[in-house]
Symmetry: C2
């Protein structure tokens, strides 16, 4: 689906380039929908691996994410990964290849700013770590929250943000502050040479081209759903 945030200054960054891993071809050109699908395959493949299933064919993988086997084969062949007739794809190889392309082969240091109820939920969310994202610190301005630890992540005073950015050089930041604080926080993050921002604040961040941003606007998602529901067939 196309998030409205799409338009808000999203840019590829020329920042640190990740290690490519296991002989995959150099970073392929991928459309945003293709990246989305790879991310979905990745999730399902990890489940297969957990269930000790070692191989999968394009038909089964397609069923898991509701796309046709042909689309699966095209997506995977763009990674230089070819299934064998009657055997399918090796699950571990696919995970490694997709992970290398999506950047999950590397560990990313992430900071979170704004520990309101959403920030709190994001800190407790277990999906990030599994994909190689380590939230190293959270920041808030509320004295009642500063000093707390949520899911192993310490909540620091947002006044220390500049200093922590300088010392620890996190690559990514999650912004979950109220709209009126988002622009100021983003400016600090840019100055602290963060390369990418996942923005939950309902406001459009204007960032220099070397900083990537993905916006998640929860109300807009519900609005898009409503639009679909009432759209005549």
């Amino acid at each position: 689906m196309t998030n409205p945030g799409e338009l808000s200054g999203e840019r590829a960054s020329s920042g640190e380039s990740a290690t490519e891993g296991d002989g995959a071809p150099s970073k392929p050109e991928l459309s945003q929908p293709a990246v989305g699908r790879l991310s979905l395959y990745y999730r399902e493949l990890q489940r297969l691996l957990e269930s000790e299933i070692g191989s999968v064919n394009s038909k089964s993988l397609g069923k898991m994410v509701n796309v046709s086997p042909a689309v699966v084969r095209r997506d995977l062949s763009s990674l230089g990964t070819i299934g064998r007739r009657g055997v399918g794809y090796d699950v571990q190889t696919l995970i490694d290849r997709i992970g290398a392309v999506l950047g999950s082969g590397v560990q990313w240091k992430v900071v979170l700013i704004g520990v309101g109820s959403l920030g709190d939920a994001l800190l407790r969310y277990r999906g990030f770590e599994r994909l190689g994202f380590q939230v190293t610190a959270a920041f808030d301005s509320d004295p009642k929250r500063i000093g707390e630890t949520i899911a192993g992540v310490p909540i620091l005073d947002v006044a220390e943000l500049d200093q922590v950015l300088q010392q620890h050089r996190p690559e990514l930041a999650i912004v979950a502050v109220p709209a009126e604080h988002a622009v100021g926080i983003a400016a600090k993050l840019v100055q602290g040479s963060v390369s990418g921002i996942l923005n939950f604040a309902p406001t459009t961040l204007k960032l220099p081209p070397q900083v990537a941003v993905v916006n998640v606007d929860l109300a807009s998602e519900l609005q898009r759903l409503a639009f679909r529901v009432q759209m005549p067939k």
Copy 2:
């Protein structure tokens, strides 16, 4: 941005069609990016109205959401709304037109299932109501949470879900349960004739074509961000 969930059975529903409102042309065909942009304009226009700003031109509106004035004009002309040279667009008219198209002209009844930390955050999120979404009830299976009220919304026993769906006929549902419960909950929602599901569970829901779904996968969003950050220019 393209959410990986895009592929997961999203369909236009032929469910209740909303009132069209104030003489806007019948529902235009809109691309998903255009819907996303309308949703962003809508947000910024509401801010302008709150600041008692009565008119806006395509250049200013474009700046607010980082698109060119030409794109703004094209999007708005598809709604049959034309700005006047030197004056611009009337803010209230735009809000009414966009609202009618996006379905914010109507009130939507919404239920939320799964009051973990994310569900809790969603209940406290103030962005929904402003757009015409009223969360009427939340459901959980945890006896410690049942009976609580969060942000005015009562938390009911999920065992009562079928009955509440039958009595109150909510159009939309927000699913924030763990992955392993999502499919079962979705089946109940479909049976209870919910028309659209906003799914936060990290799993792909397979739904009949008359039910629309928008998937929000937080880990995938972070993964997409990482992909952008490491992508060479």
